[in-house]
């Protein structure tokens, strides 16, 4: 069979620059062949090499005494949670595949991140996702019919959610939380970021390295097909009609059933001690897993493609090496223990094959039909991708949005309609249409299910992977882990630095509201094309903000994912650095949820009602400006990290003292939306809601525009409820802890009543709740 000749055009088609090709020639001292070129192109793609972002990512805080495996070392970071237990977690994007085929794209995204976690030796125990789509409802001004764009956005939402549900539910992992935003900038380029967390004991950490010269290399999982060919490279270029069309021929289809078997078999196998190293075949499949494992161990690896199970006849070495067929693992086994491995794979009816051995040559050697088709230095391939310090230039649009002044917007006189509209606005409305499709309770650990600020799971002793011949070891106490995922991308668009700080602050605040202290962070940087200096500026400023904030909250970054080239013909998406933060709750009594618990409790606001030093009074980039005035402009709220930290610590101290019955942070939609959510976000069961009214008096907050008072999004604010008898005491304690606290009113009744210096308004809770609860379902029914 003749392979294409290497020409400059072919090099370019592989997304390699002439300089990169020169570098390859330098490393090899000869021309690469076609397969080798393919191998370089995927390994040196942004997706695998982080060539455009590595210098930035180095600035993240990555250390803490609890970190057992740090960022970049392995497939996922690992953090100690006490008593010899640890958690592994990570987030990953599957944006481009989801744009092409939403159901399978999202499903395989979930599959990929689950594999990253059990590859570490951890049992996956929960999943979370962060999603962005174009609008699914028509702007009220143009009400006739539904545009093709909106119909398509709905199709994408329904496909993505269906795919996540299909994969996660079947695998048996609870999807316990997430976020969904809708904005025109994501039209045609939805974001699908999937997070997974697993549990293990310290002595169970598995490594993705090919150690032990002479050790056999096993392949386990379904046969390799032509699906997902060069997916990593696809993810590393702009999404165009042409690139999508190409990818359509090779859509990856997820098989969660297979993944479940592979996971159980791998955990069982790891427990035998027969495994020297293990890595999933994710992006860049067999290529990435072989050269990375060899590079980590400073060994070499040699495989024979004839032994790789193949789905059809006639696959070329190029195709086999670059295929991204799902649910496959590479396992390096201690020599002499092959039989144990085969026995376990056979027990689970898994296809497997011994495909090669670990060598001491430092090279990745691939044979096909008896001849060598790839012979490359593993370490240079894995680690020596070029690194670019791209040019950054402040985006031109920033001057325009900064010039926006509140003076051009008339204040509200009656807020009734605005609140109703905000609650029914899909980005704020309840996401029950989404999470009711996810099994969020399997594994018997979901303590706080979707619907509160952070999700909480308990880790019981049988959550940990097994040790052979030993009953599950008793734990002194179940562990409680909280997870929140956040990013208000509008803020990041309006001010990449400040907005990114807010993303981290909001995640930390959500954890504090649930009673948790941060342990660590994983981030997913979703941006446009980094060759554009304005986009690179967003990226650099964003990373600066994330780093600073993660330092302040002592939530080091343990890993993450970069997804660039998120563009459609209209331009780049809003910069979206999704933050998933994980925290730990010390004791069961500290678990706190966002909804009011009973009538007669006092409602307190912790933090200043408005940030007086913000010229936009918290309205810049707010949901209110978008919904009521149709603008996405202004400077976003400021984020004072030290003040935030003080607030979180004070809130936790109050929770520990047992005074706090509920806690909910003010985010999108401001104080009024947060209040409404406290009143009605508790669902007892299907079609059975607990509605707890509230009467608040804000007239003591004088001299403030009504829209800013009710809907401004100043940071650093949390609504709590406490027993009325304790109100004075709690306010006093909060002040001692350095946090402003204000008694706003009392819970009870069937309405939300708000009084301000300029008037008094009342909303029927059942009506508000109906709008909020059904908004997305109603949009999706059409």
């Amino acid at each position: 069979m003749t392979e294409p000749r290497i020409t400059p055009e072919l090099v370019q088609k592989h997304n390699l620059t002439p300089e990169e090709y020169e570098k390859i020639l330098g490393i090899l001292g000869r021309e690469p062949n076609y397969t080798e070129l393919g191998v370089f192109s995927v390994m040196w793609s942004e997706h695998c090499s982080y060539k455009n972002t590595r210098p930035l990512l180095k600035t993240f805080p990555t250390k803490s005494p609890k970190i057992l495996v740090g960022a970049g070392e392995e497939n996922a970071g690992i953090i100690d949670i006490g008593d010899g237990l640890a958690i592994a977690f990570k987030i990953e994007s599957h944006n481009h595949p989801s744009a092409v085929e939403p159901f399978q794209g999202a499903a395989t995204g979930v599959g990929g991140i689950i594999r990253d976690i059990f590859t570490m030796g951890a049992r996956p125990v929960c999943a979370v996702n962060s999603l962005r789509f174009g609008p699914i409802t028509q702007a009220p001004s143009k009400s006739s019919g539904v545009t093709a764009e909106i119909a398509n956005n709905r199709r994408l939402l329904s496909g993505v959610v269906g795919g996540i549900a299909h994969y996660g539910n079947c695998f048996g992992i609870p999807t316990i939380g997430g976020e969904v935003y809708f904005d025109p900038c994501y039209e045609g380029n939805p974001l699908v970021n999937a997070f997974c967390l697993g549990v293990l004991r310290h002595d169970q950490i598995a490594r993705g390295s090919a150690t032990g010269v002479g050790n056999p290399v096993f392949y386990v999982g379904p046969a390799t097909g032509r699906d997902g060919l060069a997916g990593a490279a696809f993810a590393s270029q702009d999404l165009t009609d042409e690139s999508a069309q190409q990818q359509r021929g090779a859509v990856q289809v997820g098989d969660p059933f297979m993944e479940k078997l592979v996971c159980e078999a791998c955990l069982e196998l790891l427990a035998t001690g027969a495994v020297a190293g293990m890595q999933d075949m994710g992006a860049a499949g067999l290529t990435c897993s072989t050269c990375e494992t060899a590079a980590r161990a400073d060994t070499g690896i040699e495989i024979e493609l004839d032994k790789v199970p193949q789905r059809g006849p006639g696959m070329t070495p190029y195709e086999i090496m670059l295929s991204e067929s799902q649910e496959r693992m590479l396992v390096i086994v201690h020599k002499g223990r092959e039989e144990e491995v085969k026995r376990i794979f056979d027990k689970w009816d898994l296809p497997w094959s011994e495909i090669g051995t670990v060598t001491d040559s430092g090279r990745m050697v691939v044979k096909h039909g008896g001849t060598v088709v790839v012979d490359l230095p593993a370490r240079q391939l894995a680690d020596d991708a070029p690194v670019y310090h791209r040019e950054a230039r402040e985006p031109a649009y920033l001057a325009g949005v900064r010039a926006f002044s509140l003076a051009t917007v008339p204040d509200l006189t009656d807020p009734r309609e605005a609140l109703s509209r905000l609650l029914a606005w899909p980005s704020i409305a309840s996401k029950n249409w989404v999470f009711r499709q996810y099994d969020h309770m399997v594994r018997n650990g979901s303590v706080v299910c979707p619907g509160s600020d952070a999700a909480v799971i308990r880790i019981k002793h049988d959550s940990v992977p097994p040790v052979p011949g030993q009953p599950p070891q008793a734990l002194a106490q179940d562990k409680l882990i909280a997870v929140s995922v956040d990013c208000n991308a509008t803020y990041v668009y309006l001010d990449p630095y400040e907005g990114s700080k807010i993303a981290v602050a909001e995640a930390a605040r959500n954890l504090a509201c649930s009673g948790a202290v941060p342990l660590g962070t994983t981030d997913n940087l979703n941006f446009g094309n980094p060759h554009n200096p304005e986009i690179f500026h967003q990226l650099a400023e964003s990373v600066r903000g994330l780093s600073e904030a993660c330092r302040v909250f002592r939530a080091p970054v343990t890993g993450g994912n970069v997804s660039l080239y998120n563009q459609n013909p209209n331009g780049a998406i809003d910069p979206t650095p999704t933050i998933a933060m994980v925290g730990q709750i010390e004791r069961e009594e500290h678990i706190t949820t966002q909804w009011f618990k009973e009538d007669g409790d006092a409602i307190l606001l912790l933090g200043a009602p408005v940030d007086g030093s913000d010229p936009m009074l918290g309205l810049g980039g707010s949901a209110f400006l978008k919904v009521a005035h149709g603008t996405k402009s202004g400077t976003p709220p400021r984020c004072d990290l030290e003040k935030e930290k003080q607030l979180h610590e004070a809130l936790l101290a109050l929770i520990y003292s047992g005074e706090i019955k509920s806690a909910h942070d003010c985010s999108d939609g401001g104080l009024a939306v947060a209040l409404a959510e406290c009143c009605f976000s508790h669902q007892k069961a299907r079609d059975t809601f607990q509605l707890t009214g509230a009467s608040v008096d804000l007239s003591s907050v004088s001299d403030l525009r009504l829209d800013a008072l009710l809907f401004g999004e100043s940071q650093g604010r949390v609504l709590v409820s406490v027993s009325a008898l304790n109100a004075v005491k709690v306010i006093e304690r909060a002040r001692i802890l350095g946090v402003a606290a204000l008694n706003l009113g009392i819970t009870g009744g069937t309405a939300l009543n708000i009084r301000t210096g300029t008037g008094e308004w009342s909303w029927d809770l059942r009506e508000l709740h109906r709008l909020w609860w059904n908004a997305i379902a109603e949009a999706m029914r059409i």
Partner: protein, 238 residues
């Protein structure tokens, strides 16, 4: 008591059932791999939830041919207690151990939420400890939970009191809105004619601890244990 918990490829609530039997109820539980041809001598068998064989073709369709199912048939015919939960219920129907079938939810979507159940017959090993008039709060999580049997079958089941639970409101009213899946007659769970085999779509094992929001599911397991304890001296092996 000694519970056997069947494990099929991609059962995923198997460990949850073990957890509840061992650590919540304080009894012993043993996982039985689907390739086994014997169950041992358990006092009761649980066929747990999950997506056996990925739910491919039809939920529960492939699992019915596992070797362990042969043993289960014999066990059930001899009067042994068998409880199928969710996918376990689907498997028992497919295997013909329970009447009817479970089809796609009417919404065509998976549903995970807490629901209320009204116990229709308290005369069974699975419901004998449920207090009269108590509605049970237990979650569902399924895509194919719509119970179907033809009218004559339903009539016969009603006559023989084989319908154990129906979806209801918190107050015990059996209304269409209360059903997450569109089941005929809001049926959530049934038993066979000899009342020793039962299945239900809701997950009692997820509602057996206060920290998870409900302990009502425990009543089902406690019913089984109570029934076994009362039966045991009379007939040592069922």
């Amino acid at each position: 008591m000694n519970f056997a918990i069947l494990q099929f490829p991609a059962s995923n609530c198997d460990q949850d059932a073990v957890h509840v039997v061992r650590h919540v109820l304080g009894h012993s539980a043993q996982m039985i791999w689907h390739k086994e041809s014997s169950l041992g001598e358990p006092d009761a068998v649980i066929v747990p939830g999950g997506f056996s064989y990925g739910d491919y073709l039809r939920t529960g369709a492939i699992a019915q041919f596992s070797p362990v199912m042969q043993a289960l048939r014999g066990y059930a015919e001899a009067g042994g207690l068998v409880l199928g939960i969710c996918n376990g219920f689907q498997i028992l129907c497919e295997a013909g151990l329970l009447p009817g079938a479970l089809i796609r939810n009417r919404s065509l979507q998976f549903r995970c939420e807490q629901v209320f159940l009204k116990t229709i017959s308290r005369d069974s090993p699975f419901t004998c400890k449920v207090p009269a008039d108590k509605t049970l709060k237990i979650p569902v999580a399924h895509g194919d939970g719509c119970y179907y049997a033809d009218a004559p079958t339903i009539a016969r089941m009603e006559e023989k009191q084989q319908i154990l639970w129906r979806y209801s409101t918190e107050q015990g009213e059996v209304s269409g809105m209360a059903s997450p899946n569109g089941s005929v007659g809001n049926i959530a769970g049934v038993c066979n004619e000899s009342r020793n085999v039962a299945g239900l779509m809701p997950h009692p094992e997820r509602a057996s601890e206060a920290i998870l929001g409900s302990e009502d599911g425990r009543l089902l397991f406690e019913s089984m244990i109570d029934w076994l304890q009362r039966r045991k001296p009379a007939c040592a092996t069922p």
